[in-house]
Every structure is written in C-alpha cells, then in structure tokens.
C-alpha cells in the first residue's frame, strides 16, 4: 500500500492539481477534431487520473473501487456474448460499437493498472488479472468474429471480365513434324483472335462494406497487442480462399516427373491452363489480395506485406514449379507456340510481380520468376532451333503420291503463319542468333524494297526456315522417278508457300522481292514440266520435211499413232497427278492446251486429205477435252474413255 501511495500525491493541494488536470483532460476529450491517437492518450490519461483520485480518496485498500466497478460493467458486456450463439457483427451496429467500446475500456483499464508502479497490492494485481482474462476472452471472440466474417464474405464468383481461355489462341498442334510423313496434315484454321488483355482487374475479394468491420477488429486486436493472432487468422482464411480460386482454374497438381512424362496433347492443355492461370492469379487475385491486405493492414506497418506473402506463397510455388518443369523439358518443335505464350505471359507479368513483391521478403519470389523467364526464353530458342532442324531433316522414304502439296509444307507454312503474332517477342529472343542466320538467307533485301520488317531477326529466321523447307522439298522431289512429276511437285509446293505468304501476315516479313522470286521459281517448274512432258510429244507431230506440202498416208498414219500412244501414256499417268490449287491447275491446262492442241490442230490441218476416223484416234476436240482430266488426282485410262466415246 505504501509503495502504491508513494507514487500518488497525498496532500490536499496535490489532490487539487490532480482534479484540475482531470478536468482539463475531460474537457479536451470533448473536442471534436482529435486524431485517434490523441484521443486514446486522453482516454488513458483520464483513466489514470481517476485511478489516482480514487486511490487518494480511499486512502488505501478500497482504492480500486471505481476501477472494479468499471471492470464489472465491461465484464458483463463481454461475458454476455460468450453464451450467445449469434455473432456480434451479425447482430447490429449498436452491439458492435458497444462491444468494441467495452474492449477499449478493458484495454484502458489494463494500461492504467499497469501504469501504476509495480507493487505488492493484491487488489491491483487481482484486478489486472481479471482485466487480462477479460481481454483474452474478448480477443478470442474477435478472432472468431473475424474468421466468421472472412469466411462468410469470401467471394466465390469467378471473374467474368477476363477473356476465358477458350477465346485465346487455341490451335493445338498435336502432330509433330517428325511423325508427319505422308499423313494428311489438317489445315490449321488458326488465327483465332489474340486476347489483348491489359489493364487491371482488381476485384473485391471481400465486399467493400465488410472492410471497415474487418479493420475495426484489426484495430482493437493490434491495439491490444494481439496483432499476431489477427494475422494468423487472416492469413489462414485468405490463403485457403486463394487456393480454392486456384483449384477452380483446374490446374492439375502435377509433379515435375508427371509433366516430363506427359503426352503432348494433355501437356498442351496444361500449358494453356498455366498461361491462363498466371494471368488470373496475378492480375486478378493477387492484385486484389494485395489491395485487401493494404486496406486492412496498411496502417500497422509492414505486416501487410508479410501477410500477403504468406497468403500467396504456396499458390505461387505451384505456378512456378509447372513453369520450371516446362522450361526443363525437351523442347520439341510443336511446343514452340505454347512456349511463346508462356514466355509472353510471364514477360508481361514480371513487372507486376516485382511490384507485388517489392519488399525484402518477396525477393525470393521476384528472383524465381525472373529466373523462370530466362528459362522460358531459352526454351523458346531451343524449340525454335529444333523446329528449324526438324524442317530441314524431315525425311521421306517414298515419294508423296500425286505430287501435291506435301504435309510438311502445310505444317510449316501454317505454323509459321502464327509467328507474326509473336513478332516482337521472337525478334527479341532471336536477336543474338540473328547474324548467323542473316548470312544464310539467300536473298539479301536491298534497294528500296528492303524495309525494317524484312530485315528484322524474325524475318531472317522465317526466310531461313522456308529455305530449309525448299531444300528439303528438293530432296523429296528426287524420290520421283518421273522428272515431270518432280516439277509438278515443286511447282505445287512452291506455289503453296507463295500463296501462304501472300495471304497472311507473313507477307511484310518476306517482302515483295521474295514473292517475285518464288513466283518465278514455281513458274520455272511449270515450264520445265511442259518441256519435259510435252516437247517430245509435240515433236512427234513435227513436219520432217518442211518442203513438201503434205505427208504420205502411211507417214501420217505413223505419226498419228505415235502421237496417240504418247498422249494416252501421258493421260494415264498424269490424271493421277494432283494440282490442288484450281487456279494453278487451270493455268497449266491452258498453257498445255495452247501448246499441244495447237500443234495437233496444225498437224491435222496440214494434212486434210488423210483425216478420217480410221487413223485419227482422237479429234482435236477430244484432246482438248481429255486434257481437262489431268491433275485431278484420279487415275484414268483412255481405253475406258475410248470405249465410252464409241458407244
């Protein structure tokens, strides 16, 4: 008791001072524009002074009467909720503010009791214990209210304002270049629109009207030194919520071993999902989570970033691990586009990631994603190279039937026609391999036609790929025994390449010069075809003796027969050949017609005397008509058609 009182003035004069001070404090407390901190100080001071007063008043043992009274009052307010099954925050604003006030009061009483010098006063000690117990009860309750609130208001809806994965570039290249030979490659009807998502998609993970409630709990818990409990409870619920969102995105929980063993088709789906999830998780959920943490915990120092990191870490590690597994896997050519998607997504997010995890504790996350970005860049390069190698080394044992457009040409041209979508990324990543390739590309772009688009790294790489394709096609053409078919094959494929370049976004990267050159190339093959096939046939009709006016009957007959046999042979062969492009087919028929029909007509016209049914197997009109059967890809024989014509 003595010790207690030693800190407390005993004289009446002092009592007056205390009373005056108390009065001033009370008056100040009614001021309206007080900061929270200041108000708290005043309240504390108020409690302290009244405690002193009560001590002085009672001169000893019963000095804590008023404190005890106050404690009893708040005790009732707090304990009453313990038996209640309804949550305080569900009951109404009055109940909430009463409860919070009561907790505040307990804290004030504790502070005041602690503020008194340490002593052996049993009463003081007992009151302090009671108040602490009460505080613990209240804090426990608040924690429960918090969890209930967070769980109840957990927004489960999926954000709909971001493009769904199905609207993304979704062409799955399930075939690989290597297994392509003589299989029909599906024409990839690609060019699905590229989702162009930018901007932020912050959502309310917890409805906005709940935030002040959460904050009010945070405030009292932190003020009572229960901040750690608050954080753990907050982290617990939010972490689980984030994991649920992540589960909704249907990311398979895959080990690295699983990923490395996965079939390409499922892997492609998983890669797509990853790309999609990365955007959603970072742009929507983590951005929003960060905002929530800042809103709720912003005023309590660095705990907000600590909590955010704890909430986010496991989900992030999951995304990171899949990325790592992909980056270390074998980089087959068919992975290129998916890898580009992954790379671009991460490259796009990496600044956001840096911003989200700018604090020291987050350096781990930042570092790992930067590493992953590098890894993905290397993977893109590796896949690009294996693609190039696959294009030039794709081998065939047998000639492609009909001399049509080879699946490899289709695959390669369709595949690279997607590259322009990724041009800035590819230009960036292929930069360092640029010089080697640029020198390999045969057509130097010079003069007025050379532009930025034709000289960028990607353009050079594209042209180097098509030139690999060309040389591979040349190799494949040698598999045909028939020289004419070699030309048809090359004509078809070169024509296809040119058409693909002209009709797509590839055009600016190849340039007009390339197109001109390649037009000339396939036209050359067209001419070569005509020469190889028809020159000898037409030669049969040639006048051996230009001096005389007409041939003898037998010589005429001989020539007619020779022509028929040769023509029928060509017909039998070349009706099975194939020119898929109708325009090209038409052009070739016209020019063939011009050459052959013209020569035939002239020949017959020069020998009108011998023209009769017996020696002429085919009329000019027949020949003209029969030529239309060529290159349709369905073998025919003239024996049948002859019979048909006779009947």
């Amino acid at each position: 008791m003595d010790e207690c009182q030693s800190a407390i003035p005993a004289h009446d004069g002092d009592l007056h001072v205390v009373a005056a001070a108390h009065h001033i404090v009370k008056a100040l407390g009614t001021t309206k524009n007080l900061s929270d901190d200041l108000r708290k100080i005043l309240i504390d001071l108020d409690a302290h002074l009244s405690l002193i007063t009560s001590n002085i008043d009672s001169k000893g043992g019963k000095g804590f009467v008023e404190v005890e009274e106050r404690l009893k009052r708040v005790e009732r307010k707090i304990v009453i909720w313990e038996s209640d099954r309804i949550m305080i925050w569900d009951s109404g604003p009055k109940e909430v503010s009463d409860y919070l006030e009561a907790v505040d009061e307990v804290q004030t009483l504790i502070d005041s009791l602690r503020g008194l010098s340490m002593n052996e006063n049993q009463k003081q000690k007992e009151l302090l214990h009671r108040a602490s117990s009460l505080l613990q009860m209240a804090m426990s309750r608040l924690e429960e209210e918090l969890i209930h609130m967070l769980v109840k208001h957990k927004q489960q809806s999926e954000p709909t304002y971001m493009p769904s994965p199905s609207s993304q570039r979704n062409v799955v290249y399930s075939e690989s270049v290597v297994s392509l030979d003589n299989e029909s490659a599906k024409e990839a009807s690609s060019k699905s629109s590229r989702s162009d998502e930018c901007g932020e998609y912050i959502v309310d993970l917890v409805p906005e009207h709940v935030i002040p409630d959460i904050k009010s709990i945070a405030k009292v818990m932190f003020a009572s030194d229960y901040g750690q409990e608050f954080c753990e409870a907050f982290i617990g619920v939010r972490k689980e919520a984030l994991e649920q969102h992540f589960d909704i995105l249907e990311n398979g929980k895959l080990s690295i071993e699983d990923v490395l063993k996965m079939e390409w088709c499922s892997l492609s789906t998983e890669m797509n999902k990853w790309t999609w999830s990365m955007k959603i998780i970072f742009r929507v959920y983590l951005m929003s989570e960060k905002r929530l943490c800042d809103q709720v915990l912003g005023e309590f120092g660095s705990v907000n970033s600590f909590c955010f990191l704890e909430i986010a870490k496991t989900t992030i590690l999951c995304l990171l691990n899949f990325g790592e597994a992909i980056a270390m896997g074998p980089q087959e050519p068919e992975k290129l586009l998916r890898l580009l998607d992954m790379y671009e997504t991460l490259a796009d997010l990496v600044l956001d990631i840096d911003a989200l995890f700018s604090e020291d504790g987050g350096s781990f996350v930042r570092l790992e994603f930067h590493k992953l970005l590098e890894g993905l860049a290397d993977s893109v390069k590796a896949a690009f190279n294996t693609f190039r190698v696959a294009v030039s080394s794709n081998g065939s044992l047998y000639p492609f039937p009909g001399g049509g457009v080879h699946p490899l040409s289709k695959y390669v041209m369709n595949y690279i026609s997607m590259f322009p979508d990724y041009s800035s990324t590819l230009n960036l990543l292929l930069e360092d391999q640029h010089s080697d390739v640029a020198s390999l590309v045969s057509e130097p772009q010079c003069g007025p036609t050379a532009s930025l688009s034709t000289s960028c790294p990607m353009a050079c790489h594209l042209r180097s790929i098509t030139s690999s394709l060309e040389s591979n096609l040349h190799k494949k053409s040698k598999l045909y025994k028939d020289e004419a078919l070699q030309h048809i094959f090359l004509m078809n494929n070169l024509h296809y390449m040119v058409q693909k370049v002209k009709g797509s976004e590839l055009r600016p990267f190849f340039g007009d010069e390339w197109i001109r050159k390649h037009n000339a190339k396939f036209q050359q093959h067209e001419m070569n075809y005509e020469r190889v096939t028809w020159s000898s046939v037409v030669l049969l009709l040639k006048d051996d003796n230009p001096g005389s006016s007409s041939l003898s009957k037998s010589a005429f007959k001989e020539k007619c027969k020779g022509f028929s046999i040769a023509f029928e042979e060509v017909y039998k062969n070349q009706t099975s050949w194939c020119i898929p492009d109708p325009q090209l087919r038409e052009d070739l028929r016209i020019s063939t017609s011009l050459k052959v029909v013209h020569a035939y007509r002239t020949f017959l016209g020069r020998n009108p005397a011998h023209v009769d049914d017996k020696c002429i197997k085919h009329t000019v009109e027949d020949v003209e008509k029969l030529l239309l059967d060529l290159f349709e890809g369905s073998p025919r024989s003239l024996r049948n058609s002859r019979r048909m014509m006779k009947t």
């Binding site: 613990q136 209930h148 769980v151 753990e232 071993e257 999951c318 691990n321 790992e368």
Partner: protein, 392 residues
Amino acid sequence: MPATDYQASFLGRISIRRNQVIAMDGNHEQELQDLELFSKHVSERFAELLSSPDDVPFDALLSISWLRKLLDFFLCCEAEFKGILMMGNDPSQISKPPLDRLIPEFLDRSVKALDVCNAVTNGLESVRHYQKLAEIVVSALEQKPIGDGQSRRAKKTLTSLISAMNVDDKECSAAKATERSWSFSRRGVSSKDRVPEHFRSVSNHVAKNWSAAKQIQAMTNNLVPPRGAEGSGLASPVYTMSVIMVFVMWALVAAIPCQERNGLSAIHFPAPKQLNWAQSIIGLHEKIGEEWKKKEKKGTAGLLDEMQKMEKLGNILMDFTDSFQFHGDITDQKAEEAAAHAAELAEPCRRMEEGLLPLQMQIREVFHRIVKTRTELLNALDQVGKSSPPLL
C-alpha cells in the same frame, strides 16, 4: 558463412589441378587422382556433418544451420562431380557402357529429387506457421505477471501449435481433401472449449497420392555400387553422387513436414561400409533413422531440431497452462519456470526467423543446380550423337 569459404577453396583447388593436368601425362592417371580426391572430399564433408555436437544448439544434427551446411556440401560435391564427369574427360565416355545406362538412371533420380525439393519447400511454409504460433506463445508468457489471461492466450495457441505439429502426413492431406472448412457451427460449442482456428493444413502442391517416402524409395532403384573394373572408372562418382543425392533428399524429408512419409525409415541405402567415403553417410543415416523411428509412431511434423525443441517446450508449457487453469493461480516459482521456458522457446523462433528463408532459398539453389546439371548432361549426350531419346 563457412561454406562459401569452402567453395572458394574448392575452386582454387580446381585451378591448381588444371595446371597439373597440363604438366602431367596420361589422362587415366589424372582421372584416378580426381576420383580419389572426390571421394576424399565427400568423406571429409560428411564426417564433419556426423561429428556435429548435439549439445551445441546452433549446429545440432538436423538443425536449420546443420541442414544448410548439408546443402552447401551437396552443392560442393555436385560441382566437383560435374567437373569430373564433364571436364577434361573424353566426352564420348558418357555414352559408352556402363555410363550409357548409369547416366540416364542418374537423370531419372535427379528429376525425382526435384520433386522432393519442391515438397520440402512447401513444407517449410508449415514450419513458418509453427514459428508464428510459437511466437504468440512467447509473447503471451513473457508478460509479467502471468495471469489467467496470458495463460489462456498461450494455451489456445499451444493447442493449435501442438495439434498442427502432430498431424501426421496422412491426416495432412486428408484434412485438405475433406476441405476443412471454417466451421460456422462453432457457436454451438461451449464457449470455454472453443478450439482456436489457427490450424492450417499443408497445401498439396502435387497429386494426393504423391508420397515423399515412395519418391525416395524410387530414387534408390538400380542404385548399386559399381563392381569389378567399373569401380575404378566414372561409374563410381556417378554412384557416389547418387547416394549423396538420395541421402540429402531423405534427410530433408525426415526433417521438414512433407506429404506422406510412411516407410521413410525403412529405406535402405545400398552403401557398403567398406567404401571409405560412405561411412559417415551410413552413420548419419543410422542416427537419423533411429530418431525417425522413435517419432514415427507418434506422428511428427519432422525431425528439424528447432521444431523438436518447439514441440518439447510446447508440451511443457501446455502442462503449465493446464495446471494454471486447474488451480486458478500458480506459485511464483512455477511462474518463473514458465517464463524461463517461454524464453527458451523464443530461441528456436529466432533461429527460424533468421534461417528459414535462407534455407528455402538454398533448396531452390539446389533445385536449380540439379536442373542445370541435368540439362548439361542431356546436351552432352545429345552432342555425342546418341540417337535414342533421353528417358526423361
């Protein structure tokens, strides 16, 4: 950090040895020397780990700092191993028997180790959670005087801590599977016994049936010491490195919470005692295995020294809070004891605060190193022109 010094001196040794290579004739002789040096370093390093005194808390077996040392040594051994395998030697050797079989097996093991690294990284998140709970206990009990409020606060958190740490691996994943929801009906529970909801489950980062123990068991597949002539060639460092890798992963899994560890102690290391370098590893394996067996039955979060201390002190303090509530008050002596235990509990908390993040980052480093070596080995195999595709 001692390990950095170690690495520095290791690099220094390499450069010295390079000079020797130039001076010396005969590749084979050099190779033999390299191999000898390698196994000498391995045995030195693990002997150091084995001799860690139990009584010095900082370096105790399976403490955070001990694990960090273990990982440092792993990285050193790995660097040396790669040097032997890929530098100076005829690169075509790796595609010839017996390496043509041993290397793909090694790569297969590496991939499994990567998944273990990830599981452990994930497990460290749980450890971090324990740390935070223990910190609450400390701050509750370091207040003076300790009253009913403090005791209740500590008890509530201790209940969470102890139940979180005692959840065995299976329950861990089961808890997750049943989607442990924050119970709404908690108001029905009598208010005095309300169970605090600090409990946080280990999140599965892989499929539910993934098992750390099985993973490590699978790593020991085909792991047999080289025999006869093979013993003097490159087969032996591949074997040594494999054993080191399996051991390191095994120790990490034993120490840190991990998905499904049933049968961990049954994993047998095929390391014969007559191999000098293997003795310390076998010693460590036995020592840790014994510990694991003791704990296995009870179900444990792991053998991490700091966690075990936490568990022990947690139980003592739990008894204290129980008796407090029973008697309503305690003697000063009891209170002092409790305060002392709380102060003791602050120690592992502090070490976790300092060491967990670096440990996690080091595990990532190990991860990246394994990936890098794997890539380099695959590239080397590719270059040698091996036509058959790699296993993984």
